[in-house]
């Protein structure tokens, strides 16, 4: 056991835990936050995807000690303080993406990370960024459409753009 500290969805977390425990099980079993899902335990399906300093990682095969001092974001952390959904969640909702829904937290976390690094992804970019997330219900056509739809919204609300527009 070791005392570990990291930031989870903007909040400081400190806990005593076996440092080799995968981050997933710390989040689910120790912190009782269940939006992040267990699918394979080998980083093969992406259901457990969370962000480490904004980049997607598979928390099922990521030892919690590697998160020490880092910023972790889970699906619960996407919703703003006002309660508003993230534009990616909004796109998922308006296009009816989920079926069983179990993989969708991971899909959304991967999509958010994609759009943060690439606000106008092509179909090929989507394939590359999302191929690590399995959806057994086969919602892939809707996921693709929702990422394109979210990209439009993310672009419109890009704070840099709005600053430029107000200056011009």
């Amino acid at each position: 056991m070791a005392s570990l500290a990291f930031t989870l969805n903007g909040k400081a977390i400190q806990l005593d835990v076996d440092p080799s425990t995968p981050l997933l099980w710390v989040i689910r079993d120790e912190l009782a936050m269940t939006g992040t899902k267990f699918g394979c335990g080998m980083g093969l399906c992406g259901a457990c995807t969370v962000h480490l300093n904004g980049a997607p990682i598979r928390s099922c095969s990521f030892p919690v000690q590697a998160a020490a001092g880092q910023q972790i974001t889970t699906i619960e952390g996407l919703i703003g303080d006002s309660g508003a959904l993230h534009p990616v969640q909004e796109a998922w909702l308006s296009l009816n993406v989920p079926q069983c829904g179990y993989c969708q937290s991971g899909q959304i976390m991967s999509a958010v990370a994609l759009l943060e690094s690439n606000p106008t992804p092509s179909d090929e970019d989507i394939d590359t960024a999302m191929a690590g997330n399995i959806c057994r219900c086969g919602t892939y056509p809707k996921i693709r459409a929702a990422i394109h739809a979210a990209a439009q919204v993310v672009q419109q609300f890009d704070p840099r753009q709005s600053v430029q527009e107000s200056q011009s």
Binding site: D18, P22, D29, G35, C137
Partner: protein
């Protein structure tokens, strides 16, 4: 005063109660309605209204992605004349009114939920609406026809009446024999409503799956089972596991070894430190290769059971051609591995899990724990995929037994490896497809299907739930054995086909030796559509005809098959594939719906790429158009996984695959563009959860033939 028999039965509860005392009190207790409150108005088990004005639907069909949560709500909302979003929806407990008319138990499966709920759910809601309107009319001294229920309120002209305020008045009213339903022209939501009511919780992470349920003090449990099917526990050494961090208890549970710890990771780590020896059991030495060879032998040596014969055998003139087709075992691979949370104390059992077979679980847990069914409460959750896997009861019984034997509340969590290796598999199967060809005319189709029987294994589960409890086990197994060689799922899709050849015959030969079997999305259709629609393509080629024209020429022009085929050919621009791509076509009826698909695929350097699938479905009345489209997309991608990747193999009676690296799923970069067209229909609704799956494998195999001239007769499709 004369008392009719019906009136006596309905009004005799108090009398019956007193008669029963001293016989068996529990057997007489009125069945409590699920989630009932004495203050609510609940004219039936499905729907209730609280004095606060909340309309609650008891969701009696599990939501596993197929859309029952939205679909059931839409049916009810239509008759309550309010947007489905206004309903409060609860996961139903077991109740006799929720028993499925097809399966005789409360169960979700067989693409039947909308079809079998279409009338009863609308009637249930219409009954509540009628009672509320009647009570309000009485209160106002007006005619029933002048009072409307709309968007959660009662209206008489401009006067608004809170529905909750008429509950007591409505309680005393009786319903007419046949409560009228809204005519289709007045439908506000059926056929129009598109939003998924469960989507918000599923994009925020708030939706509760079985794995997400919290219970104070619950331990995490993992179970180490014999890897060889039917094998038994010889011995185990738990000393290293018991010394592992966080471990609370290691115990034997019904021939397996359970490890209980503070969290899943600790339990899983400790389980890896167990030393266990197993007896391999009856399947020692059994391999998939051997089973396949045996099926080919059986197809030659056994006549099998005659399942369908149309026309005269003498019509089978000309040259006989034949071909063997094969498919492997398939696991369901739901994204949420099997799991259940169980709490057992001296009062009874509580279970939280995602379940398709609620009543089967109730019976199985009662048998396993010795508690009566009335002492068992099942709290169903969202299912992280079902596809037929969660009709089985094994994972819930395991959790209940671990909790009972350890005396602790436990959350049993299967690993992906457990899930892959301890499934109830889609049967491996073979068909010897034969035809006679006379000139340019097919004169007969003769099929011999060889497969183990799902029925033989599942019937005892059903009869144990349905038949009196005192019947010995041998009766149930005997029924299973008797039924096995009549398994309808083994030949479904091979019989009742649209093709009208002069002679048609189908036989079924049961293979005795098998791994555990279960219902896998589209069941027998999943292999049989591949067999027949590939072979039909062979016959088209053999007789020098276009695969579309050959199909149309051999079926009734008035059939639904003819219509969907014609439409799919039009939408897919049949015969004009983009450069470098090739087309394949297939049509198949399952669960009352007819689906035709055209696949555009290319083959380069031995790699198959599926570019586009065009799908036309006739599923009768559509409740939620977007959900039907989604189910077709879903079924197609599910079928493509089976067509391109899926294969579970046995060696020494154990499954060789373990996780998504060796049992692969279709991923987004391999998923095609899918165009779905819903054929307008005024027929009653038929299935949508499964019918999208069967046609895609043959349509793809037919496209690969068009691309390469090679006829692939085995799934998964492999060119190398």
């Amino acid at each position: 005063m004369s008392v009719s028999r019906r009136g006596f039965i309905k009004g005799g509860a108090a009398v019956a109660g007193s008669l029963c005392v001293g016989v068996q009190l529990s057997g007489c207790a009125p069945v409590p309605l699920p989630h009932a409150s004495g203050r609510d108005l609940q004219p039936n088990a499905f729907i209730q209204l609280s004095p606060e004005g909340v309309f609650t639907l008891q969701l009696h069909k599990a939501e596993m992605g197929q859309g029952t949560y939205t679909g059931m709500a839409t049916l009810v909302a239509e008759e309550l004349n309010m947007p489905p979003e206004m309903l409060n929806i609860e996961q139903a407990h077991f109740h006799p009114e929720f028993i499925d008319p097809d399966f005789y138990v409360m169960l979700t499966g067989g693409s039947s939920s909308i079809r079998t709920s279409y009338e009863p759910l609308r009637k249930a809601a219409a009954s509540l609406a009628y009672l509320l309107r009647s009570a309000a009319a009485q209160q106002l001294g007006r005619d029933l026809a002048e009072v409307a229920l709309r968007d959660g309120k009662l209206y008489h002209g401009e006067t608004v009446i809170e529905p909750g305020s008429v509950i007591e008045a409505a309680r005393g009213l009786s319903l007419p024999e046949d409560v009228p339903l809204k005519p289709a022209v007045d439908h506000r939501f059926i056929g129009r409503h598109n939003a998924r009511l469960d989507a918000r919780g599923k994009v925020t992470g708030e939706a509760m799956f079985g794995l997400d349920v919290q219970y104070p003090g619950a331990l995490s449990a993992v179970l180490v089972r014999c890897p060889h099917f039917g094998g038994t526990l010889k011995s185990f050494d738990a000393s290293a596991a018991e010394a592992s961090a966080g471990v609370v208890q290691v115990l034997e549970v019904d021939g397996a070894v359970a490890v209980l710890a503070g969290n899943y990771w600790q339990a899983r780590q400790a389980a890896g430190k167990l030393t266990v020896e197993w007896h391999k059991g009856p399947l020692a030495g059994v391999s998939s290769k051997g089973l396949r060879a045996q099926r080919h032998e059986l197809a030659r040596s056994e006549a099998g059971k005659l399942v369908e014969e149309l026309g005269e055998a003498s019509a089978a003139t000309g040259e006989r051609i034949e071909a063997f087709y094969d498919v492997p075992y398939m696991a369901h691979a739901t994204m949420e591995p099997m799991n259940a949370l169980a709490v057992v104390d001296d009062r009874g059992v509580q279970i939280w899990s995602g379940m398709q077979g609620l009543q089967l679980v109730l019976d199985a847990v009662a048998r396993a724990t010795g508690f009566s069914q009335s002492q068992i409460t099942l709290h169903n959750q969202f299912l992280g995929g079902g596809f037929g896997r969660r009709i089985q009861t094994d994972y819930v019984v395991e959790a209940a037994r671990i909790a009972q034997l350890s005396g602790k509340p436990v959350r049993l969590v299967w690993s992906r490896e457990d899930d892959t290796r301890h499934d109830f598999y889609r049967p491996n199967a073979t068909a010897l497809m034969a035809a006679t060809v006379d000139g340019d005319r097919v004169s007969s189709l003769q099929i011999k299907a060889v497969a183990p029987s799902i029925f033989g294994q599942f019937m005892p589960v059903m009869t144990r739930t349905l038949l009196p409890k005192w019947l010995p086990s041998i009766v149930h197994d005997g029924i299973g054995n008797m039924m096995a060689d009549s398994d309808p799922s083994a030949v479904e899709g091979l019989i009742h086909t649209p093709y009208q050849f002069p002679y048609k015959r189908s036989n079924y030969v049961m293979q005795e030796v098998t791994a555990p079997l279960g219902y896998w999305r589209s069941v027998g259709h999943s292999q049989n559509a591949f067999f027949i629609e590939s072979f039909i393509d062979e016959l088209a080629q053999r007789t020098g005809q276009n695969p579309l024209d050959f199909r149309l020429a051999n079926m009734d022009k008035a059939s639904r098959h003819y219509q969907v085929l014609t439409k799919v050919a039009e939408l897919a621009d049949w015969g004009n594939a983009p450069a470098g791509q090739h087309q394949g076509i297939a049509v198949h009826e399952s669960f009352g719906s007819v689906v035709a698909q055209v696949v555009n695929a290319s083959v380069s350097a031995g790699e198959v790429r599926v570019h586009k699938v065009v799908c036309v479905v006739d599923c009768g009345q559509v409740i939620n158009p977007d959900i039907v489209v989604m189910q077709m997309q879903s079924g197609i991608n599910f079928g493509l996984t089976a067509a391109l990747k899926g294969e579970i193999t046995l060696e020494d009676g154990a499954v060789q695959q373990s996780n998504f690296h060796d049992y692969q799923m279709l991923r987004i970069n391999e998923a095609p563009e899918i165009l779905v067209h819903l054929l307008p229909s005024s027929n009653p609704p038929s299935g949508v959860g499964e019918p999208g799956t069967p046609p895609v494998a043959p349509a793809l195999a037919n496209a690969i033939f068009a691309a390469t001239g090679r006829r692939l007769r085995e799934l998964p499709l492999r060119l190398a």
